[in-house]
Amino acid sequence: MSRILTYAEAISEATVQAMERDPNIFITGIAVDYPSGIFGTTTAAYQRFGSARVFDAPAMENALTGIAIGAAASGKRPLIVHPRNDFMFLAFDNLINLAAKWSYMYGGQAGSVPIVVRAVIGKGWGQGATHSQSLQAPLAHFPGLTVAMPATPRDAKGLLLAALQADGPVVLLEHRALYNVSGPVPSEPEPTPLGRAAVLRPGRDITIVTTSLMTIEAEQACKDLARLGVEAELVDLRSIRPLDSETILASVRKTGRLLVADTSWELCGVTSEVAALAAEQAFGFLKAPVRRIALADCPAPVSQVLEASFYPRASTLVRAALSLLGKADQVETTDRPDDFKGPY
């Protein structure tokens, strides 16, 4: 059975269901046991399981990751939450040098370290240069780490459930602008398979491949395009690694046009990877060059007016799609209102 839940509620539900099933799961990180618990996603788990399984951590990102790895090596299933994924940079040593390589480096003889890391991408309202980055590309660069970016409430629940059942380390990047988005979510604990993209909308004219918040922007863009008679196929990557190349390629071979949109920068980014995939394996099907939509090539500015030109939106996607189709871009677009208010 499906009900309408917000992204935040879906994560909360997945957490409680997973913890009920598996007594080895525990949650830690800054603010996880606060009444406001990471946009309300850890509050229910704290109420249900108490401080033995949901507890605050001092500011200690690197060591906390190492501690989680050690706990996982001894049978636990830690879930670490970072209120901003940027704080995770301090944890890269343990995450990448140890967790990601654990299975390989010890020839599969040292067991597994099933840690799950949830980390929030910030955006807007002046979050600024060090509170708004999207780390999927650097994380996915390293073999051994699974990286997923739920865009819909359904997948927010499903991917977290899958991560909490996975064998190796998984990072889930959640976008702050998504926590209030609602959609259908099954009440049963149904995992979303890691490494599978989702075709959210079928179409024949152009493929739009997206991640995270850009999926929501693209849903709006697809509606605008439909009014102009353009049928766009929307492919939400969901997982960055493993990357579902089959779904991407099947769509590109069908439509012959590819627009890729990600929440991070272009150079050496996820959009580059998808573009390279199409160039290498679907070149003969392309009727136009691949087009990438990413952040403006500078750190995130704070000033409202600069922020507005920094982030791509639905209208950015519509214009790019129309230019790929060789159509004029005189079109009324409907960007979603940015209704977030501070102080966070």
Partner: protein, 333 residues
């Protein structure tokens, strides 16, 4: 209140007023949703910034963290440029790119503030290294909160600074909380911050952080010691943040329960600005009327500067890519 030998209490009081009235005016304006950037107000903690900065020389380098306005202003940063930064305007000290947590006023000896915990402990140690290499008299100062002592980078920096006897003042503003976590969920009972630092062979003292004279006296002594080759000095300034962790409200207004209104009220009574005023009057350095006049003059100045910042021009969207790279001869653009 401590004697604070050598402190010009009138000047210190004027700085306290400037810091307090700027923060309070910004906080009231912040609620209008025009300043769109997460902002950590430092109300209640002014004496730490002012006491330490009064003890510094112009060449000293000051670094700060996310709760940075007090340090920026106490070091001589401009109210206008601070307010313009928070309003996101081109005249902001970081041209509207950095926001509340990324301030700079290099001409005043305030190098930067930065938002990631522990970063500016290491950078201050780096400035101290440069001063030691150059044989100058300058010292470096890092302001940070108690949560920074939970990060590994703090101990790595401390170890290095102690090893090389670097002239750095590590100023911890211990306001007892990290976001909504009280000290006892973050630190084992019986463990003291000063005790940990002393185990590195580093001088560490606890002072009343709401007493500007006491802070000044400790900082002046620490500075002398660091300059004389005594190595780093750690000051733990005990204080309290009046408002919520980030944003302009009081916690009780927002229904948060991690600390009580009664606890806040206790600290309101220890207001560092009122204490400095009482001290001025008690010692005959100023009359009540003088104190009130200083407060009025500062309030008028601050209000005008903040109003001017609010009316300042936005950055041009064409300038979005300014300063991503520094142009260097021979580099490809």
């Amino acid at each position: 209140m401590d004697g604070g030998e050598g402190l010009d209490l009138t000047r210190a009081f004027q700085d306290l007023l400037r810091v307090r009235l700027t923060e309070e005016t910004l906080a009231s304006r912040y609620k209008e949703q025009e300043m769109r950037t997460p902002t950590h107000f430092g109300t209640g903690q002014e004496a730490v910034a002012v006491g330490v900065c009064q003890a510094l020389a112009p060449a000293d380098a000051v670094y700060s963290h996310h709760r940075s306005h007090n340090h920026y202003l106490a070091r001589g940063g401009s109210v206008y440029r601070l307010a313009a930064e928070i309003y996101g305007r081109e005249d902001g000290c970081s041209r509207g790119r950095g926001g509340s947590v990324h301030l700079t006023a290099r001409d005043s000896g305030f190098i930067i503030s930065s938002a990631i915990l522990g970063q500016t402990v290491a950078t201050a140690v780096g400035s101290a290294l440069a001063f030691a290499m150059d044989g100058t008299d300058a010292v470096a100062v890092s302001f940070f909160g108690d949560a920074t002592l939970e990060e590994g980078v703090f101990y790595e920096s401390l170890n290095f600074a102690a090893l090389h006897h670097l002239p750095v003042l590590l100023v911890c503003e211990n306001n007892l909380y990290s976001t909504e976590s009280p000290a006892d969920v973050r630190q084992p009972p019986g463990s003291s911050l000063c005790g940990r630092v002393r185990s590195f062979g580093v001088t560490a003292d606890q002072v009343d952080g709401n007493d500007v004279a006491a802070v000044f006296k400790a900082a002046a002594a620490a500075r002398l010691r660091a300059r004389a080759g005594g190595g780093p000095v750690f000051l733990e300034c005990m204080t309290y943040r009046w408002r919520e962790h980030v944003g302009p409200a009081f916690d009780h207004e927002s229904g948060r329960t991690y600390r009580s209104k009664a606890e806040l009220d206790l600290w309101l009574e220890r207001c560092p600005v009122r204490r400095a005023a009482a001290h001025l009057v008690r010692t005959g350095q100023a009359g009540v009327d003088d104190v009130n006049t200083m407060a009025d003059t500062t309030a008028t100045h601050v209000a005008a500067e903040i109003e001017r910042a609010r009316a300042a021009p936005w950055p041009s969207p064409d300038s979005l890519f300014d300063h991503v790279w520094r142009a260097t001869a021979g580099n490809v653009a």
